[in-house]
């Protein structure tokens, strides 16, 4: 295998990662103001790398699907459609002075991409209604609370019912969101942050010892 698989290279990459992370952390905590130009340079590199990774990803998609078409793999017509669409959009954007705002690009966005994405996302409404039928149950554990909270917030946000709600219920909904829900979400935010830190540390340490 190429040297990229050797532990020594892994070590080098890990060391670089740790060094960059330390620099960024020190800059964030403003321990060394002179670090600011360095971290700005690093962020600029990250931006360039991200753009290059995007191009690399596009190239990889084209390569994989062209090979699928060549080999006549399962559902190869879909691969052909994907490559054709990609080339069409690329040509539409790169030929002509308009660039990304060229009329053909605008039409592709308005007539295909926008409606397609919106249609898929609109299915969420149907899923929500089916979930209301199947899972908003009074005799489920905690179902009463979920049902009561759902109905209260829905009633509050719906024009016809908001005007008819007594002020005490409006205040109750505000209180629910401001206290118990907010407390729970703050817990989620803190827990999520700690979990991310834990995963990163575990990755670094276990990576360093377990597999050389």
């Amino acid at each position: 295998m190429p040297p990229a698989q050797s532990p020594w290279i892994y070590r080098l990459g890990l060391t670089l990662t740790a060094a960059v992370a330390a620099l960024v952390l020190m800059d964030r905590f403003q321990l060394l103001p002179a670090l600011r130009p360095v971290t700005t340079l690093l962020y600029g590199w990250a931006l360039l790398l991200a753009a290059f990774a995007l191009l690399l990803g596009i190239g990889n998609v084209v390569w994989v699907h062209v090979r699928r078409v060549q080999q006549g793999a399962a559902e190869w017509p879909l691969s052909l459609l994907l490559v054709g669409s990609l080339l069409l959009v690329f040509l539409a954007g790169s030929i002509g002075p308009g660039g990304a705002t060229a009329p053909l690009m605008e039409w592709l966005f308005s007539a295909l991409i926008g409606p397609g994405q919106a249609t898929l996302f609109a299915l969420t409404g149907v899923f929500v209604l089916i979930a209301a039928y199947r899972y908003l149950r009074l005799d489920r554990a905690d179902g009463l609370w979920i049902l009561a909270g759902t109905l209260l917030v829905l009633l509050l946000q719906t024009p016809s019912s908001y005007a008819a709600l007594p002020p005490v219920l409006v205040d109750l909904a505000d209180w629910l969101l401001d206290w118990p829900v907010m407390a729970a979400l703050r817990g989620v935010l803190l827990g999520g942050g700690l979990a991310a830190l834990l995963v990163i540390l575990r990755l670094l340490v276990q990576r360093g010892v377990g597999r050389g």
């Binding site: 919106a118 209604l129 016809s160 019912s161 834990l198 995963v199 990755l203």
Partner: protein, 471 residues
């Protein structure tokens, strides 16, 4: 040849088939057996061989093995060797591993792979070892799978994927068997295709027949008034940065929220720099700004699109490059490829001297705002207003309470409340549109209540025996 050998890092005695050292976790498979036979290079250190402790004389009074070139010079006293290990006579020194006790005249001729291996072993000592169980597990897996390069590569990728995706073991809750859900728990109710048809018919009915009172009142959640005030305070010379974090998939709801805010921004005559980290974001922003521009006078519209709008475009890189916008926006923001917006470039350059007066994040999901608050705001200290979907509201409300958000406009209710604060006279078509939307919301609310009621009735009848009635 003995069945164990010493670890090159700590001297611990390991079986020859061991993949990892039981003492320090060193990966023993990495030693190039072809180049340097392990038994020859790393002989087991006998108890007391270096510490000078008195030990029972071996049956074969062979001299203790001397450390070789790869033996750690500062290694602590060697752990006791396995008593089951037969005492072997000291191995002859390897030709490439001169005795370190006396300076080797040919030390500079040590092959490069050996030097790299030595560096690697020493470096590894800086990291604490894994627990014994984890090492045994890893060694077992390594023994089961011979170190073929391709297989190791796949295994490595799988391991990293699992490590990253694995749940953090916080609670060991017992798993509920999959088939124990009763009908009352929603487990046995069949999927009902008529629900889909009911939704379609309801929406059609709303579009064709639906109507609502001319005056629509909604609940104004906290944050709308603050957002309106912050935009009111923008001066015509100030620069506002807009992060567009939604695309056409969620534009159905988000446009309703964003339109009155954008209209207010255009009227403020401040300069807007719009960027997006979604490929479809810039085009979505252009459409909404065009719609908002229709609500203002031609002069205001011309002034906005000619000189006050800077389309920063698509910014790749996700959260990792957001910090660049906080530190050095002039470097991070892309400018139009044609270079036609010289004014825009100047506006962006102005951000280098002073941060934007206000930042607005238009996002369908809470993560879009959270990233900005975590990555950018601590660097430029700019007030942030979030314009988000209703689903993102609860997750962002703590940020509003803590003061990190200067304003929060969320969901259809938020957008409508904001529009009412704009105090603009609506056209008849707009009023009609508002009434239709309100009617649709009313219908869908009652549909949710109806379906929840039917679901409860169906479950109750299945449990209590109403002849298995199901809607």
């Amino acid at each position: 040849m003995s069945s164990t050998f010493g670890c090159p890092h700590c001297g611990h005695s390991n079986a020859v088939e061991a993949a990892f050292c039981g003492g320090c976790g060193t990966n023993l498979q990495e030693i190039d057996a072809a180049l340097l036979p392990a038994d020859d290079l790393f002989p087991v250190k006998k108890k007391g061989a270096e510490s000078g402790e008195s030990t029972p004389p071996p049956a074969d009074p062979a001299p203790p093995a001397e450390p070789t070139a790869l033996t750690e010079p500062t290694a602590p006293e060697a752990p006791p060797a396995d008593p089951a290990v037969p005492k072997a006579s000291p191995p002859p020194p390897a030709p490439d591993a001169p005795d370190r006790a006396k300076p080797a005249p040919d030390a500079d001729r040590v092959p490069l792979p050996m030097l790299l291996s030595r560096f690697q072993q020493e470096w590894r000592g800086a990291v604490p070892p894994l627990p014994e169980e984890a090492l045994q597990d890893l060694a077992k897996r390594a023994v089961q799978q011979p170190p073929s390069p391709e297989r190791m590569d796949d295994e490595e990728r799988r391991r990293l994927r699992n490590l990253i995706n694995e749940d953090i073991p916080l609670l060991d809750l017992p798993q509920r068997p999959a088939n124990t859900q009763s009908a009352a728990q929603g487990g046995e109710l069949p999927r009902q295709p008529w629900i889909g048809w009911l939704v379609v018919v309801s929406l059609l009915a709303v579009l064709l027949l639906g109507d609502a009172p001319a005056t629509v009142t909604v609940h104004a959640w906290p944050g709308v008034e603050e957002a309106h005030t912050a935009i009111n305070q923008l001066s015509p010379e100030s620069v506002a940065l807009i992060n567009w974090a939604y695309d056409p998939a969620t534009a159905g709801e988000m446009d309703l929220v964003a339109l009155p805010v954008m209209e207010h921004l255009i009227r403020s005559q401040s300069r807007l720099v719009v960027i997006s980290q979604l490929p479809g974001g810039p085009a979505t922003a252009r459409r909404l700004m065009a719609r908002a521009g229709q609500q203002i006078s031609p002069q205001e519209r011309a002034a906005f699109f000619d000189s006050n709008l800077v389309e920063g475009g698509f910014l790749p890189g996700g959260a990792s490059v957001l910090a660049l916008l906080g530190q050095d926006p002039a470097t991070g923001l892309p400018v139009d490829a044609q270079g036609s917006q010289t004014d825009g470039r100047l506006a962006i350059t102005r951000l280098e001297q002073a941060p934007p007066a206000l930042t607005l994040v238009f996002a369908a999901q809470a993560e879009g705002v959270q990233r900005w608050l975590e990555q950018v705001q601590p660097l430029n200290r700019t007030p942030v207003i979030a314009v988000v979907s209703g689903a993102a509201d609860p997750a962002l409300r703590p940020y509003l309470e803590s003061g990190q958000l200067a304003g929060l406009v969320s969901g259809y209710s938020g957008g409508l409340a904001y529009e009412q604060r704009n105090a603009r006279n609506l056209s008849r078509a707009e009023e009609r549109l508002h009434q239709q939307r309100s009617a649709a919301r009313n219908w869908l609310l009652w549909l949710v209540i109806l379906l929840a009621l039917l679901g409860n009735l169906a479950a109750h009848s299945t449990e209590r025996g109403w002849g298995g009635w199901r809607p």
